[in-house]
């Protein structure tokens, strides 16, 4: 079993890892790169706790051989969280009680970010469909959907402020 070197971009920085063949991106992020926001719920594609963004699109890192992301752009929640403070999405989840144990939260927040980039004003049905691959055992989902709605509202308010600033 010959190890191989894989190079990709993680949170905007180039990384190089030595891996065994067909190691999953999930294993490598958690055990070699310290990105433990990427959770290890089922390794079956069924829970969404291992979600990362690959070139901005949600994918499941437990089903992805790390060799397949060579040369591509991977983003985890560590990469988005400011050194001090929270993102709009994180703040909305906190304020709306969008988590209890927090195990599903990184995946939920990454999908939320990807959703709001494509659809800044999603309906509740859009939100439920987008998050349908992310399982939460604690909240019952209602506060999570409320959090996404709040993040969307906060995001569009911020966009209005930004565009008003630009026209002045």
């Amino acid at each position: 079993m010959a190890s191989v070197v894989v190079a990709f971009e993680l949170g905007g920085r180039p990384v190089e890892v030595l891996v065994s063949p067909l190691a999953t991106l999930q294993q490598v992020l958690r055990t070699q790169l310290g990105h433990t926001s990427v959770k290890d719920g089922c390794r079956q594609g069924g829970c969404g706790s291992c979600t990362v963004l690959l070139d901005g699109e949600p994918v499941l890192s437990c089903l992805l051989p790390v060799e397949d992301v060579a040369g591509r752009r991977v983003t985890t929640l560590e990469d988005l969280t400011p050194v001090d403070g929270l993102t709009t999405v994180q703040r909305a989840f906190l304020d709306a009680n969008g988590f209890q144990c927090g195990y599903c939260t990184p995946g939920m927040e990454l999908v939320t970010k990807a959703l709001l980039e494509r659809n800044p004003a999603p309906t509740r049905a859009d939100i439920a469909e987008a998050l349908s691959g992310n399982v939460c055992r604690c909240t019952g989902y209602v506060p999570i959907i409320a959090a996404v709605e709040a993040a969307a509202a906060a995001g569009s308010a911020a966009a209005v402020v930004a565009s008003e600033g630009a026209t002045r």
Binding site: L64, P65, S132
Partner: protein, 282 residues
């Protein structure tokens, strides 16, 4: 993990050469959403694996009055396919966003029971499978692709390169029953396509998913509606014939008894949809 080598060929000829060299010892994976869970669980223990993400089969192109869909096109790519709305609808009802971003149309043909939802729509569309091997390419009707439980007509030295779908005017209906609204394995999936001749249905195809070892067409239901207007009586007799044609199975999602009942109900709903559908491409 016991995998000794993960091959990532950059072209189809290179992939075929590796397949020829390593034969049945080589496990092929596409999007990995069926194969990787089995490997992670230790149910599948391949020594050598070949990934197809770099072979360049992700494109979708027009070929005359047909659409040639590369086997590596993702399910997400299909969701916006305007030329074949039945296929787009089936893809939107398949799995979750992240799984659709990874899973491929080629892989959907190999999905174990309950089977592929997109594959069921492709069967209703009279799709053909382009297989490539050392002897070159051959086109096979999808209706002859599945040969039994988890077996297909693809040879051990062949890969699915493309899926060719006719683009024709007509009507379609897609109905999937699951135990929740989204990201759910099928209890039953029904895909219907037909040309219309006034009120009469022509060239109808009624495909059933999760109703047998692989997607099936219901010959009985097709015969019950072909050439007829979709009256409630005609729809009821087609629904009954489909329930008889089904070869359902029990799993964690539904029992044999319930699946057979639901095949009838869902075929009835799909045909009612077809009867009320606006004239549009299928």
């Amino acid at each position: 993990m016991t995998v000794s080598t993960y091959f990532q060929p950059d072209s189809l000829p290179e992939a075929l050469a590796l397949l020829g060299e390593h034969g049945p010892d080589l496990l092929v994976i596409a999007g990995g959403t069926v194969a990787m869970p089995l490997i992670n669980e230790g149910i599948s223990l391949p020594a050598k694996v070949m990934g197809l993400r770099r072979v360049g089969l992700g494109g979708i192109e027009q070929r005359g009055d047909r659409l040639a869909i590369g086997a590596m096109a993702t399910l997400t790519a299909l969701t916006t396919l305007q030329e074949v709305p039945l296929l787009a609808e089936a893809a939107r009802h398949t799995a979750s966003w992240a799984v659709r971003n990874m899973g491929t149309v080629g892989g959907n043909l190999f999905t174990p029971p309950p089977g592929g939802d997109v594959a069921t729509a492709l069967l209703a569309l009279d799709a053909q499978v382009e297989l490539v091997g050392p002897a070159g390419a051959r086109l096979l009707p999808l209706s002859g692709f599945w040969t039994g439980f988890m077996t297909t007509a693809a040879g051990p030295d062949e890969l699915v390169a493309r899926i060719v779908v006719p683009v024709a005017p007509g009507r379609h209906a897609f109905v999937k029953l699951g135990r929740k609204a989204a990201n759910t394995p099928a209890v039953v999936t029904v895909a219907v396509r037909a040309a219309m001749d006034g009120e009469a249905v022509r060239d109808v195809r009624i495909a059933l998913g999760a109703a047998g070892p692989h997607p099936l067409r219901s010959a009985g239901a097709e015969a019950a509606v072909e050439g007829r207007a979709l009256t409630p009586e005609v729809i009821a007799s087609a629904a009954g014939a489909a329930a008889e044609d089904a070869q359902p199975f029990s799993d964690q999602v539904a029992s044999t008894w319930y699946r057979r009942r639901m095949v009838g109900v869902m075929v009835g709903r799909a045909l009612a949809q077809l009867a009320s559908a606006e004239q549009r491409g299928a």
